[in-house]
């Protein structure tokens, strides 16, 4: 599949790759004609991979909390990044959304009445200078 052209570089040979695929497929057709072998192994590997992720992320919070506790213990503080109980119910979210909505509506009404003048300060540049931009009349 790979043909060696230098000591460190290998070039992918598509034709050889297809040849390998056909050979393997032929082998599978003989050994596992209904595909139950690949199906079983495939499902086991997919489950194992995602199970690994599950275990890792299940324990990630605990590890982070542990590290934080060690750090805070050294400083004599007690900080926790445990967010297990930091849960907002749908009602709370709805109340916050409603409050924000009403606030923004109110803001809009006020805004339409308020005239705002922004002071704009720009640094001087001869390229935008009014003196050079206007025609200078010669003084008689």
């Amino acid at each position: 599949m790979y043909s060696q052209i230098t000591d460190s570089v290998a070039v992918f040979d598509t034709a050889a790759a297809m040849e390998t695929i056909h050979e393997n497929a032929h082998l599978f057709q003989e050994i596992d004609p209904i595909g139950i072998g690949i199906t079983s192994i495939g499902m086991i590997v997919v489950f194992s991979s995602l199970l690994l992720l599950f275990v890792a992320f299940k324990n990630l919070v605990k590890v982070l909390n542990y590290i934080k506790r060690i750090k805070s213990g050294k400083k004599g503080e007690s900080i926790s990044i445990e967010h297990e109980n930091d849960i907002h119910s749908g009602e709370v979210n709805a109340a916050i959304a409603m409050a924000l909505y009403l606030y923004s509506q109110e803001q809009h009404d006020q805004e339409s009445l308020v005239l705002t003048i922004n002071k704009v300060a720009r640094t001087y540049s001869p390229w935008s200078s009014k003196i050079y931009g206007l025609r200078q009349h010669p003084r008689a």
């Binding site: 390998t20 695929i21 393997n24 199906t39 499902m43 991979s49 995602l50 982070l64 109980n85 930091d86």
Partner: protein, 387 residues
């Protein structure tokens, strides 16, 4: 004078033989009608317009009949044509990893991190891939073609294109069109299966709201995710590497410009190119075969198996979970990766039975896990056949 008229009439006859009218076949007409249906579904029914419009129009482009023997270098399968160069991105598997980069940059994995057990639903739904593999074999497809067709069950267009371009390049067009078509039809295919496999009480299960996820967790997710999944299946590296890289760009908070490009301009450009070229690859002369029709049928079967696997596994998990941690099995369907359509289906069906039970945020967890799961499954298939 006669010589002049002979020259003009000969030239005109030759011109007529080059026109589409002279080269049209029934296959072209069928494909043009299918293209128009795709465009109609995208515009009138709003079914995956970002995919169906480029694919549909690509099908129109690919099915303008021309004289194949004239060497005009216009067809997608003609070496040296512009479309052929653009199609390289599909046949060499370049576009799918770039799309995964964009998906990583636009996906929020918080729901998955807040309730990691939902990752397993993403694994269960991959049953669609392996189930479709055995059925494809039974229908007479050779193993490498069966593997490429089976990946449609992952409901992940880029993964399907990536795997089929490696294992069965001759089927890329049919597989891609089938995968994207069924992804667009997720709201039609999944609800009946979900309703059939669940009872009233299960559909009304209210899940615990997800906890807030810290920034550190979000940053660590792509790094840990890449290391764990790619150490098991390195063959999925092009897809998973780009997915997790895109996610790190998003979550690191210091590469906003890169993340914006990946999830904006870049993914849009690649989506246009992949959609158009995949559509154009359905040239009637090479596409309209009994195998393509078989692939379409198998695509539907694989979606059904995947949805069934996800829903039933959610019910199975409930056997071991306490009442307050129970999973609503209606989110099991989201294990097929079609992001975010299948999660929207969970929400839609859930709301039919309880007007205030919002399942979308819960369903996003198996949905994004499904993306990882289908990429891992593709990696397994690759290592089996290319190893």
């Amino acid at each position: 004078m006669n010589q002049f008229f002979d020259f003009v009439s000969q030239g005109f006859t030759q011109f007529l033989s080059y026109t589409a009218f002279a080269n049209i076949t029934t296959g072209h007409v069928v494909m043009i009608i299918i293209a128009l249906v795709f465009i109609y579904l995208a515009i009138a029914k709003d079914y995956e317009p970002l995919l169906l419009i480029p694919i549909g129009f690509g099908m129109l482009i690919g099915n303008i009949p021309f004289n194949l023997g004239a060497g005009l270098q216009v067809g997608i399968y003609e070496e040296g044509s512009v479309l052929n160069y653009l199609y390289f991105g599909v046949t060499k598997g370049i576009y799918p990893p770039l799309i995964f980069l964009g998906i990583g940059a636009m996906t929020d994995f918080s729901t998955l991190l807040s309730n990691p057990k939902l990752i397993l639903l993403g694994a269960a739904a991959q049953l669609g891939i392996f189930g479709a593999y055995t059925i494809s074999l039974a229908l007479g497809f050779i193993p490498e073609q069966a593997a490429a067709i089976a990946i449609i069950g992952g409901a992940d267009g880029p993964t399907a294109i990536f795997l089929s371009s490696k294992l069965a390049p001759e089927l890329v067009g049919a597989i891609a069109v089938s995968a994207y078509s069924y992804m667009a039809l997720v709201p039609v295919i999944q609800p009946p299966i979900m309703k059939l496999l669940t009872n009233e009480k299960e559909r009304k299960i209210r899940m615990k709201p997800p906890r807030t996820v810290s920034k550190t967790e979000k940053i660590m997710f792509p790094i840990i995710g890449l290391l764990l999944t790619c150490f098991v299946t390195p063959s999925a590296l092009p897809l998973l590497g780009m997915l997790f890289f895109g996610n790190l760009l998003k979550e690191s908070g210091v590469t906003k410009r890169l993340a914006d490009t990946a999830k904006g301009a870049l993914i849009d450009i690649v989506t246009i190119l992949i959609g158009l070229t995949v559509g154009a690859s359905t040239q009637a002369t090479t596409f309209l075969t009994p195998a393509s029709i078989g692939i379409f049928a198998l695509g539907a079967v694989s979606f059904v198996i995947a949805t069934t696997g996800g829903v039933l596994f959610a019910k199975f998990m409930n056997l071991f979970l306490s009442d307050e941690n129970k999973i609503n099995p209606l989110i099991g369907n989201a294990g097929v990766s079609a992001v975010p359509d299948s999660a929207r289906v969970s929400q839609m069906v859930g709301l039919q039975y309880d007007k205030s039970n919002y399942l979308l945020m819960h369903a996003m967890a198996p949905n994004v896990a499904g993306v990882i799961g289908s990429a891992v499954a593709a990696g397994i298939m690759l290592s089996f056949f290319m190893g």
